[in-house]
């Protein structure tokens, strides 16, 4: 039986691998940070001085070790453009991303689980076909297209919500729907297929033979067992809500870490790109681990298997 400490060790190994990969990718991609700071007209001596001050003249191994030493102390470096600590920039933007992710996650849960149950309960009939059609649309429409469509309808035509930004009342609604809809589609299908899969299980027949009503069978027996794969998917989705928020944040001018990442890529602000990618990767790994732990708590068989 794997202990919590072992799982934590696994997580740390994954995080180590991710951070090393991010460090190496940023070193290997084309583009010179000195050009970003000084521009192309800089004198050779100034370039050399800047290279030394950024530590770019030192061996790669040494820079890698320093990177980990700084990371351990929470220092993600300093933005080349804004001249601010990267950790501060991320902390300024993270709450907006978390708000958006939480609202989108709420939409996923509120739409996907009831719709998945409805589809499974009425398999092959119109509610099922409606749910399947919704899932197909949700999966097919890209965020960068859905966002402006929603804005045209709800903001420009009806005037119910603001177009973009995060200051006006109701500004979270459209970005959350845009971000949550495609994920709700995946989860709806997962919920439906998971419920159908356990439908023929003996324990459900037993429950019904005992005289339990359909609602009680669903709530007490079907759902807890069917939720296991759904929780795994939801865990993965929570992580990808942070990563997938990049496009939605840009479309809706939502001031989160996604738009910070895009700005940093455009400005070739390498330390900020590195910090945000690390932040997203860490969030992804941690939410997946939390989903594993939650699944193990929900179903002792998972715990035993581990």
């Amino acid at each position: 039986m794997r202990t919590l400490a072992e799982q934590l060790t696994d997580t740390l190994v994954v995080l180590f691998g991710v951070s090393t990969l991010v460090f190496l990718l940023l070193v290997l991609i084309p583009g010179d940070p000195v050009d970003v700071v000084l521009g192309e007209s800089a004198q050779a001596a100034d370039r050399a001085a800047m290279r030394a001050s950024l530590g770019l003249d030192r061996p790669l191994g040494e820079r890698w070790l320093d990177f980990y030493a700084d990371l351990a102390s929470g220092d993600l470096g300093t933005s080349l453009i804004r001249r601010q600590p990267v950790a501060d920039l991320i902390m300024q933007r993270l709450p907006a991303t978390l708000q958006l992710a939480a609202a989108a996650f709420l939409i996923v849960v509120l739409i996907a689980i009831p719709l998945g149950i409805l589809a499974a309960r009425h398999r092959g009939r119109w509610p099922d076909r409606l749910a399947q059609t919704f899932a197909l649309f949700g999966l097919s429409i890209p965020n960068f297209w859905l966002g402006p469509l929603l804005v045209l309808l709800f903001s420009v035509q009806l005037g119910w919500t603001p177009v973009s930004g995060n200051l006006a009342p109701g500004s979270l609604i459209l970005p959350a729907i845009t971000l949550g809809l495609s994920m709700a589609a995946i989860t709806t299908r997962m919920m439906r297929s998971s419920l159908l899969e356990i439908e023929s299980q003996a324990f459900l027949r037993t429950a019904r033979c005992k005289g339990l009503g359909e609602v009680a069978v669903l709530l007490r027996h079907s759902l807890p067992n069917a939720m296991l794969p759904v929780i795994t998917v939801l865990g993965m989705q929570l992580g990808s809500l942070l990563a997938g928020a990049v496009i939605t944040e840009v479309v809706f001018a939502w001031p989160g870490i996604g738009s910070l990442l895009i700005d940093a890529i455009r400005q070739r602000d390498y330390p900020v790109v590195q910090g945000v990618v690390l932040c997203i990767a860490f969030a992804y790994v941690l939410t997946n681990r939390l989903a594993d732990l939650f699944a193990a708590w929900l179903d002792p068989r998972v715990h035993e298997a581990n």
């Binding site: 991609i29 084309p30 007209s41 004198q43 100034d46 001085a49 804004r82 001249r83 601010q84 907006a96």
Partner: protein
């Protein structure tokens, strides 16, 4: 589950704050990121800093130096005296800018520890010293007849040089004061004259920027929209569209070190195969004008007599045949560009026009870092880029002198002409009248040698709602915000 839903709904509502109504919202594609004029190099930051900081010298539309907070006098060829004007604006704390502020600003710029992108342009400044109560002397290591044109960086208070993060909390003497960084990533400024507040709000997506203006959430947009959106905006009631000739110069670059493109006949064939007028008409919706040089003809160092390489596919085929290519032996070339959708659209039109004369153009689109890295490393045959905000003839050394091959400059085509080098060097030492003729000759030779195919100057376009007084400028600066006012019509 229900508790969690209620909590999350509360979170959703908590994210929303009251909307502002007395602020002019200026939706920008890119927000300013650095509000320290010594460190800023991107266009959005420089335009914003010009509102927040007064400069010793300003440049007019023709690139000539005009007094800003100071007038100047050439004491010797290597010494300039800048005298602060008595009616100069005060700093945010009501203190009058003094010579000590000018000296502190420029000394910090000369210090490589600051890491300023402007240090290179001031490399020939030997020292900066106070000269009495209201004057500052600049001593140069070599004569520079147009030195005042380099003094366009905002002056910061001496006490803010150390220990104050001007990038985040700017302190200047410009016509606007900084109020705050907004929670939406934007910037709130206040006009000192009348307290009118203006928010620069970042909205990266052009469609959303347009919708924001139409819905009334924003009152002002400037540039960075595809032509179809300008057309759409022009048809909307209550909006006004205004445009002004711009200085953003687009060109098609050649790698002259490439054995195929080193042949002038190939370059002439390409130049005559491109129908610029059609591109301007259909892709820019007429919001650009043909260009022949990086400096506009009316610029003091510009050249007004450059003859365009007219669109003539037959002539282009003749040049191509002379170079040894025809339909039986087609010429294949590669063209690099960024991932910007509009630039890709232009690339495909160029591909089609060159195909008509028998050139197969292979388009390669890369993210900006890779694309620009390849251009600087000389790893390309053809590419297209634009010079933004160029207003001094220094660009000619930077882009065409043989000493300016990257990383020492931006001679990306690897052009090497001893005559052009000599002309540039002579122009740099000549008085402005003499320099003007020499720089014009540099541009004639660059044009004759077809170092690049000059394409067009992109216009500056402004769309607004319920405002008056904002007129776009040639360089796309935000200084027109000094005159803008709400009309609510």
């Amino acid at each position: 589950m229900v508790k969690a839903a209620v909590f999350l709904l509360a979170l959703l509502l908590a994210a929303c704050q009251a909307a502002e109504t007395d602020v002019i919202v200026f939706a920008v594609a890119t927000p300013p990121s650095v509000l320290d004029p010594r460190l800023a190099s991107d266009a959005a930051s420089e335009r914003t800093n010009n509102l927040l900081y007064e400069r010793l010298v300003a440049l007019d539309d023709n690139g000539r130096a005009q007094p800003g907070m100071a007038t100047w006098q050439r004491i010797t060829p290597t010494q300039y005296r800048l005298t602060l004007r008595s009616q100069r604006a005060r700093f945010w704390n009501n203190r009058l800018p003094e010579p000590v502020d000018v000296v502190a600003t420029y000394r910090s710029l000369l210090d490589s520890a600051l890491g300023s992108p402007h240090t290179g342009a001031l490399a020939h400044v030997d020292k900066v010293m106070e000269a009495g109560e209201d004057a500052v002397d600049f001593h140069l290591t070599r004569p520079d007849p147009v030195f005042p044109t380099r003094l366009t960086i905002g002056i910061v208070p001496a006490e803010a040089i150390q220990g104050h993060n001007l990038s985040r909390k700017p302190l200047g003497s410009g016509s606007f004061v900084f109020v705050e960084w907004r929670d939406d990533g934007g910037l709130l400024l206040e006009r000192r004259r009348d307290g009118q507040r203006i928010a620069l709000v970042p909205v990266a997506d052009p469609t959303m920027r347009t919708l924001k203006l139409i819905s009334g959430e924003a009152q002002l947009l400037q540039n960075d929209l595809p032509s179809e959106l300008y057309r759409y905006l022009a048809a909307q009631p209550g909006l006004s569209l205004d445009e002004h000739a711009g200085t953003t110069f687009a060109y098609l670059g050649f790698n002259l070190a490439d054995p195929i493109l080193a042949n002038p006949d190939v370059r002439l064939a390409i130049a005559h195969a491109i129908d610029r007028q059609a591109i301007i008409e259909h892709l820019f919706d007429g919001r650009a004008e043909p260009a022949e040089s990086v400096l506009r003809p009316r610029h003091w160092a510009g050249s007004a007599d450059l003859k365009a390489h007219r669109y003539d596919p037959e002539l282009a085929r003749d040049y191509l045949r002379r170079a040894g290519y025809d339909t039986a032996r087609p010429l294949q070339l590669s063209y690099k560009t960024s991932t910007d959708a509009f630039r890709l659209r232009i690339a495909h039109v160029l591909q089609s026009q060159l195909h008509d004369i028998g050139i197969r153009l292979k388009i390669a689109s890369y993210d900006w870092g890779t694309f620009f890295g390849d251009i600087k490393n000389g790893s390309f045959q053809m590419y297209s880029l634009a010079w933004v905000g160029v207003n001094t003839p220094d660009i000619l050394r930077y882009a065409f002198h043989s000493d300016s091959t990257p990383p020492a400059g931006a001679n990306r085509g690897r052009y090497a002409s001893p005559e052009v080098d000599a002309l540039i060097e002579r122009a740099e030492m000549a008085d402005p009248d003499g320099a003007s003729a020499l720089y014009a000759e540099v541009q004639r030779r660059v044009h004759r040698d077809l170092v690049y195919v000059p394409l067009w100057y992109e216009s500056n376009v402004v769309a607004s709602r319920g405002l008056s007084g904002y007129r776009p400028t040639q360089d796309g600066s935000y200084l027109a915000l000094n005159a803008v006012r709400i009309t609510n019509e």
